[in-house]
Structure formats: C-alpha cells, structure tokens
Amino acid sequence: MFHVKQSGMAYDIIVIGAGHAGCEAAHAAHRMGAKVALVTHRFDRIGEMSCNPAMGGLGKGHLIREVDALDGLIARASDAAGLQFRVLNRSRGPAVRGPRVQCDRDLYRSFMQAEIAAADGVTVIEGEAIGLLLENDSVCGIEMADGSAVTAPKVVLTAGTFLQGVIHIGDERRSAGRVGDAAAIPLARQLNEAGFTVGRLKTGTPPRLDGTTVAWSELAEQKGDARPEPLSMLTERIDTPQLSCFVSATTEETHKIIHDNLDKSAMYAGYIEGVGPRYCPSIEDKIVRFKDRSSHNVFLEPETRSAAVIYPNGVSTSLPRDTQQAFIRSMKGLQNAEILQHGYAIEYDFIDPRDVSPTLETKKINGLYLAGQIIGTTGYEEAAALGLIAAVNAVLALDGSDPYVPTRDRSYMGVMVDDLTRVGVTEPYRMFTSRAEYRLTLRADNADQRLSSDGERLDLLTACRKQAVAAFLSDLSEVKQQLEHRSVTPHEASAAGITMKKDGGRRSLLALLGHPEMTFSDLSKFGVDVAAIPSRVQSRLEADAVYHGFIDRQQREIADLTADDQFDLPKDLDFSQISALSAEEREKLARIKPMTLGQARRIEGVTPAAIISLMPYAKRSARG
C-alpha cells in the first residue's frame, strides 16, 4: 500500500517502546510497507511480559484473535511460548468462551525478538527518546538522550508505565519504568507542557518465587485442556506437552500478617495517589475490602518451562520486603518459599484517552499516536490491539488515505477504542465481554470472518495468511451451502432422535444444527460425511447455529424501533382518548389519520413522546 518514504525524513514511522503495543505497531507498519524505527532501551527486553506471563482470557482472548485476524504477532507468539492452554467458560455458549495461554516468558520474548529482527522494514534503535521534535503543531521526529535526532512524519508512542514511573515497595520509592528499566521523565514533562490532560494510575505485581522451594505435592493441581486450542488460526495444533498450575490459598495467619502491617503498605500508608484497577486489587485491598473472606485462592503459575520462577497469581502487593516474605510463607506449600523478586506497586502518568481521536492520533500534536497503558489501558492484549490500530492509521495518514476506525458492532477493538476515546477512564481499562453490546456476534472464534477482509484491504496480511483465510472461508461456505440445501422432514428428524415441531415442513440441516440437542457429528445420521469436514469448520457452524435464531429476533426488535412504517395504526383509533397526547397532537393526528407509526412520526409537531404513547396501539403490519 505505502511504499514511498517522505522526502527528507529518515523513516516513515517511529515507534517508541517495544512492549506489546510497540511490537504490534512496528510490525503492522512494516507489513503495510512502511519504513519503521523502533526505539527501545534494550533490544533484549523487546516483548517482555512485565506482569503475569499469561495471554488471553475472557474479552482478552477475543482481542488476541482480532489482532491475529489482522496478522498481528501476539497470538502466534503465545502459541510458540505456550505452557498451558485452556478455554475459559468452555461449558458455556461460544460467545463467552475465552482462550487463555500460560506462556514461557523467555520463549515469548525470543519469538518477538526474532519476528522484529526478521522484519526488514523495522530498524531497532537502542536508546532513550527524551523528546518529540515538533514543527508547528506536527511531530517530525524525536530527540534521543545521546543528542541525536531521528526523523519521521509519524510517531507512535507506547510508553507503557514508563512516564514518570515510580515503584513502591513499602516505604521504598524509586523512579523506574518497571523493575530493571529507567523511567521516562523528560518525555512526560514535554507532554504535560503540550497541554495534554495527564492523570496518574497505579498497578501492581506480586513477588516472584523460586520454584525449587515450593512444596508442590501439598498443592492442588490445575491442568490445561486435554486438547489444547491454539490462539492463532495459523497454528495447526499444539504439540508441546502441557504444564500444570497449582493452587494455594491465603490463611488466617496470612490475613493477620497483612492486617498488622497495613500501615507499611505503600498503598495504605498514603504514598500512592494513582488509581488502581478494581479488578486487579492488591492482596492488601482484598483483605481490607472483603473482611468476611477467611481465604483467597492463590494460583502458582510457572513463568518458564523449567518452572524455576513462579508467579503467585492473586497476591500483588506493595508491602515491605520482610512482610512479603512472612505472608508468602504463611501459605500452604510455601512454608519454605524463597522470593526471587519482590512484589511492587508502580505509579505512572497516563494521558486522558479523550485527548486522542478514534484513530489514536492525539488532538494536540498532529502525527503523534498513542497506544497502550499511556492512554489508560492495562493488559498485553489491549496494548497490542491499540498498537496495531495506531500504526495502521499512522501509515494510512502518510499519503492521506481514509483512516481505519473499528466499530463497536464489528470488533472488541471497536468497543475499546470507542470506550476510551468517548468516555475516558477512571481506572486502568481492561476488556470484558460484558463491555460489548454485540457480544453474541463478536465471538473469539469468528474474528477471522469479521476482520480478515479489513486486513486484506489494509494490506496487513502476509501471503501465507491470505491463503489460509481464503482456504478456510471457502471450506466454510461450501459446507454451509451443502447443509442449507439438504433438508429433512420432521419425521426423518425424529427417526434420527431429534424432536422438532411437527407444524413446520422440511427443515434444512443448517437450521437443524441450531437445535439444542444437536451436535455437528449428529449430522452423520442424515448422510453428511462429518469426518471429511475440517473440525474448525464444524465448530464454527455449530457456534453460529447456537445464536442464529436469537440474533435474528434481536435484530428484528432493534429494527422495529426504527422501522415505524411496518407498524399499522388501527383505522378507527380515537386519538382524543390517548391522554399522553397534547391537544395540538390530537387535533393533527385526528385530521391526518396516519396509517402507520412512521406516518404519524413525520407529522410536523408530533413529538417522539407522542409516538411512544401510540406504540401500544400499533400492530405489526402483515406487509412487514
């Protein structure tokens, strides 16, 4: 799509930060043919999982599949690094199932670094970006700490928690972007001066434990799925052996230790002003807010295949080091556990997402795009999706092409962009399936159907992806047609053990699939060669069938609200008897005698409230 570098500039796009937003941004811009500079402190920390080494889940798994549909990296990286694969809510409907992968953080990083290194359009620049170079209100490059300048007409800033980052452990405080990395202070100052609305958020992480000091045999095991489901559609199957997680729990003693030391927690001693996410509370928070609970589960998750480092999920904390040690050892199986790295809270600046437009370009500085935690989100998946959208729009803007703004009805990315830029945030923003009003259609399993055409149009897809998508979609439509064209009578159905209403006539096999008792393999009873149909096609058609009737009806209901013309008003309706109408409305309605609700609405001076009061009298038209 875009191939010509703008004159006088070294790059088309500079991406600052190489976390999950930055990697997706740089790689997406590269796929679209742009010349990209990826600026990061150290190459060897590209693709770092700063917190929990897990990808996906509910809402988040949906986002990963959407990024994958646009040929992003995050799903393939997770498949390559996966230690344990589970689909959450597997027993529920397809719309609320979320794939989740426990990753080996070293493998994940290696995969990302290899992808970035292999992308010939991406140049990695190691160093600290300390400022934006501006020309009037437009960005034209960045200034590096070593005094050099890098120029490009577009800059995607994915600073994560690095802007004025401050780490808290008890009463210790130090400036940092995350453990082991410096904070970005001059950049934060410049953004402040540019007039952005800057707020403060916090997040936290638990202590990491030495896996060799955990008494595994005392703990309950949590296994992955027997048949692991990959995140990326390009991954045929997962062959690596699955690793288990283990479950411990806080005890009364844990609660007492934490309670007695609350005043030493950075959060509770009042050192932290930033707002933390409600859904990711520290263990201090949990104990204070849920006094009636005598125990909270703690999931021990391996960070690498060797299980040398353990992430105790559920005990994020900013208590002092010695208190962390004490409470960890008060839990089952952890009596002798050694801490490798202490838990901490981190506070950082974020820019009000209402300061960016839905393309993720800032409203104050032209050509500057923001993605990830810098605009108030939390989570790798949210960051990755935003990074991709920011880069796509930055590239499109290079030659003035129309922007790409995902919408709420077609993707979780659209839900997120709309929520952020329209409503803003009061706490770090995480995706939930309940944020999507079109949840039944925005499923994790059908992201490719929803977004592949966008990806193709935007030139985001590699040849190998295009081929895979085309093959799948053609299989899907072929089987679908086949099932639509074969029909059975109620009698044939009941002979095969499927009870359906006797009233109707023949029914297509596709319609039959929507029957609660039906599974795809039952179709073999009607002569379908099930074994010859790819399993992905089977599960897709099955999932579509679950909601088919419901979605139809719901869309009709919503359409009904707008399609007033399909509602007839009784010919003899006595408007003078409808008390909610004004005298003027009664008079006009009685004179004009509208035949439909739509006609009534178009009468001048008839208010929406009047239409609502006419609704009970309206009947759905036979014509409708």
Binding site: G93, S579, P616
Partner: protein
C-alpha cells in the same frame, strides 16, 4: 446544559380574559430581551419588581407589569427565565407578543417549556407526564396521582427496579467474565432469585394498574328513579340550566343526558336518565335499558322519588345499594313519604325552587366524594408507562428461562432489553453501574 439556542415565550395563563396574565420567556436571550423591554434596571433575581414595559420599536408603553427574573440553572427550564405578570386583556397580550417577536423570541410550541426542563435533566419523563396530568387534573384522585408522578415517585420506583436489574446483571456477568476467580457463591442462583422477585414486583404493579385505571376517571353521578319523579328538573337545578326537557308527562326523558358539573371544587359527570318502568314502547325501552346500565356503573346514584311517582318497596330494594342518596322530591306536595313506604331512611326532602334543600343535596354529594382519594398505581392512566413495564416484565421472564436453560449470555441480552425498556420510562442505564456493583461485591482479581 440544555443546548437550546432559541428563546421562547408563551402565555402561561391561557387565552382567557382575566385580571392578570402571566407570560414566560426562557432561553439564552431571555435577560437581554427583558433589558430592551423595560424601563429602569433589571430586577434582582427571584424578586418581584414593578416595571413599565415598552415596545422597543416605538418606545410606546405596553403595560405596567410585575417582573421576575430566574437565572439558570435554578429555574423551571434550567435556562434563564423571565416572568411578566401583566394585565389580563387580550390587547395587552397581543401588544406584548408582537414586541417579543420583534425582539427575536419565538412563540413556544405546546410542551416546549417542559421539554426544555426534561432536556436539562431537571425531571424525568414520568415527571413531565405528571406535570401535564396535573394541569389537566379535574378530580382529587387525578390531582393526587399527578402530584405523586411530579414528585418523582414513579422515577424512584423505576430506579428501584433498575437497581434490582443491575444487581441481577452484575451477578450473571461476574459469573461469565470472571469465571476463573473464586467468587465464592453461586451467582446464577442468586440472579435467578433476584429476577423472580423483580418479576413479581412488575406483575403486581401491572395488576394494580389494571385495577386502578377506573379510579382515575371523572366520577359519574346518576340520577335514577321511576318516571315523572322530577329527575330532569333536579338535573336542571343542579346545573342551573335548562339541559333536559321537562314536562308533566311521564316518560319524557328517553335518553341519558350528561353534563359536567363542578361540585365542591371537583369535577363530576352528572347524568339524567329515563324513568324506570316496564314499557311496551320500544324506544322508551331502550332508554330504560340505558338507565339500568348507568345505574349499575355510576360511582354515585341519586334515587329520586315523589308522592306521584312512588315505587314499590320491592323495586326499591332491588335497586338500592350502599351510598345511594334518596331524594323525596316534590316535598311541597307531600312533605313526607307515606307511612309504610320502607327503604327510604335518611331521605332528603326537596321542594322545587327551595335553595336550602338544594344546598343540602350538594353538600351531601360533596361528602360522598370527600373521602381521601386512595393512592393509585402510578402505571394507571398511561398506556405508555404500562406498555413499557409490560415489555420489561416479559424480558425478565425470558431471562429467567434462559438462565434455567444454562444460557446466561442470552439472559443478559434479555435483561439489556429490559433496561432499554426501563430507559424509555425515565432515564438511562450505564454499563459502569454494573461494574460498580460487581467490584463492590465480589473479590475479583487473582
């Protein structure tokens, strides 16, 4: 913030000849227009001040008026509002309207002030309906009912339903979006219990609306009795007008004759009817039939008897029910019913033209309706409100069923539909409300 760019005006007191007329002006230019209309300084806010109004085009005085300024947002519409109390003649009103139009104000469409108040978020839709109903109220029951609406009682009830909907949604969503957390209770069972309670409340309310709707109608007072008892004369006396044809011929009134009267400050529909007797005349028979129906449905009956129009005790006993007023008419001919005529206890004597008798009857009627009007269902009297609640109720029932079938995500869709229905009743539901509920109640976050 209302966002209105126009300034509107209307005569608040209507187009009637009266001592005073009140004109209201609302909008961004209300105060600027007032400045050009009055001599002297702008009055202090919310303080009545006397000012001469002048037509800005020629400086001619229009009237002397009491002027009030209500700066927004503390005004009826939330905008700057001006009230002009002028003298009530049509010429004054006309001159003022013409001056205001010349100053750029627009004549308000019906309901425009309420609409602005609604848009400013100063009241909800049901309160707006309450205001409209209050202005139209004729009866004590109607007045009380609309006052309760205006006061926001319905809005509060809907808010309680919504709270319970949000509660159920939070319970279901927490089970879906936080499946991995140890939530520590069976959230779907709790949601089901919540929905059943809500469903029962909605269905009670709908039943009450059905029951109470007649209570909001203007009451009917039926005048019934045998032919030639003087029923039509009585109606004419009550109405102080010749409404019904009066003659000495029994059976003169063939049809029911209705009139709307104000007695003791409340509106009543008073209906005269054909005298009840067996008749061979088919037209009279229709009238008698109508009288019977009227007698059965009326809120109050006045049974009229007279010496030359007596009734058998059996006929009276068959008709009689508690609360009836018995009038012994033509008391100038016979001051008392003949001895032995049973069932007339507590009768009121009435002599034609005797104003004392008439005022006793009027105060008797007044007393019958003087009992405090009961609190009626706030769904009564509005098809719109009832329709929306009915829809929400159906959605809640379907959601319950979806939960039963292990499809919580479909239950959520139905409950969101119920939210939209309640939204149309008063206000608006925010997904953030559900999260607030989830995070305050459940320990979320590994």
């Amino acid at each position: 913030m209302t966002g209105s760019t126009t300034t509107i005006f209307a005569i608040a007191t209507g187009e009637i000849a009266a001592a005073l007329s009140v004109l209201r002006l609302s909008g961004p230019d209300a105060f600027a227009i007032l400045d050009q209309l009055i001599d002297g300084p702008a009055p202090t806010a919310r303080r009545a001040s006397l000012r001469v109004l002048r037509d800005p085009r020629d400086g001619a005085s229009i009237d002397e008026a009491l002027v009030l300024r209500f700066p927004g947002p503390n005004s009826f519409t939330g905008e700057d509002v001006v009230e002009l109390h002028v003298h009530g003649g049509p010429a004054v009103r006309q001159a003022l309207i013409s001056a205001l139009a010349a100053l750029g104000a627009e004549q308000a469409a019906p309901g425009a002030f309420s609409q602005r108040r609604y848009r400013a978020g100063l009241f909800d839709l049901s309160q707006a309906e309450g205001l409209a109903a209050l202005i139209a109220a004729e009866t004590e029951a109607q007045r009380r009912h609309s006052m309760r609406l205006m006061d926001g009682e319905f809005g509060r009830r809907v808010a309680a339903w919504r709270a319970s909907l949000v509660d159920a949604l939070a319970l279901i969503e927490v089970g879906l979006d936080f499946a991995e957390e140890d939530i520590g209770q069976d959230v779907e069972d709790a949601a089901t219990a919540q929905l059943r309670t809500l469903s029962a409340q909605l269905s009670d309310e709908l039943a009450a609306a059905q029951r109470d709707t007649p209570g909001l109608a203007t009451p009917t007072v039926a005048i019934i009795g045998p032919p030639n008892a003087g029923k039509s004369t009585l109606l004419n006396s009550l109405a102080d007008a010749e409404l019904a044809i009066v003659s000495d011929i029994p059976g003169t009134t063939r049809d029911t004759v209705r009139t709307r009267l104000t007695i003791g400050g409340r509106a009543l529909e008073v209906v005269d009817s054909a005298g009840m007797r067996d008749t061979a005349d088919p037209i009279e028979a229709i009238g008698v039939d109508r009288a019977q129906k009227l007698a059965a449905q009326a809120d109050l009956r006045i049974i009229v008897l007279a010496i030359d129009a007596p009734w058998s005790p059996a006929a009276l006993a068959a008709l009689r029910r508690e609360g009836d007023i018995i009038v012994w008419n033509k008391a100038d001919l016979a001051p008392e019913p003949p001895a032995g005529m049973a069932g007339l206890e507590g009768y009121l004597p009435m002599a034609q033209g005797n104003l004392a008798n008439l005022s006793v009857l009027l105060s008797e009627i007044d007393q019958r309706f003087g009992v405090a009007a009961p609190a009626l269902s706030l769904l009564a009297g509005s098809d719109r409100r009832r329709f929306q609640v009915e829809k929400a109720h159906n959605s809640v029932i379907e959601a319950d069923g979806a939960l039963d079938h292990g499809r919580p995500e479909l239950a959520v869709e139905r409950l969101r539909q119920a939210n939209r229905d309640l939204h149309l009743l008063v206000g608006h539901i925010d997904q953030e409300e559900i999260y607030a509920e989830i995070f305050s109640r459940f320990c979320i976050g590994k």
